[in-house]
Symmetry: C2
Subunit: 130 residues, 2 copies
């Protein structure tokens, strides 16, 4: 992995992911589960949990990089637009820096939807060659 | 919610959470799933996925605050120590700032284990009174 390397992975926030996240973490906040409540707040429907995207990032780091010998050190994410059920999302990530001496790689990423609207962006630092 | 308010919630990274996270997000990285691999890297066993903690944060924000009318705007987390299966974790959060004008609250948080070792810390900004 070297500076400038780019990766992308596609995801869908489908019923399996949405219901599975709620079953697992028990976050039934009405904004995520009550269509009438969400619409009264100006959304088009229930807003998908932002931390579903962090689950996708776990998969990306753990399974989609050229090496498996990695561990997340820190991460940050900013949610820019709501995500609704069944939206197709593309995660686009780029290596910003690799420090061989301290065995850390810094990546920046964003998620975009099918209209290329960036719905979230952030950074993630990982340990490499553990 | 006002500056200085403190909250705490307890979690356990049990089999249901660990297996459920893997089933949902498909992150089977060997550091998380292969005890021999993890031990060869100096860990006591498979390291729990850091993003399980972000799922706990989703529950905390969505379900444990005094009001339900909230939405995460951004969040950051730094992992300080590995978490192993069946560890009991306490999330401790404190409101750092509330801006009524822009309807945003800033919280800082940490997770500690049963020996009071801080295993992760971070910040989370939420929209309130949507």
């Amino acid at each position: 992995m070297k500076k400038g390397d780019k990766f992308q992975t596609d995801f869908i926030v489908d019923d399996e992911i949405y219901n599975g996240f709620i079953d697992l973490f028990k976050d039934k906040n009405p904004l995520h589960t009550d269509a009438a409540f969400a619409e009264a707040k100006g959304f088009k429907g229930p807003v998908m949990h932002g931390n579903i995207l962090n689950g996708f990032l776990s998969f990306f780091i753990g399974e989609c990089l050229p090496e498996k010998n990695v561990l997340i050190h820190s991460q940050e994410i900013k949610y820019l637009h709501p995500v609704y059920k069944n939206e197709k999302l593309r995660l686009v990530a780029e290596v910003e820096n690799v420090s061989e001496s301290v065995k850390v790689a810094e990546l920046k990423f964003f998620f975009e939807n099918h209209t290329n609207l960036k719905i979230a962006k952030g950074k993630i630092n990982i340990g490499i060659d553990l």
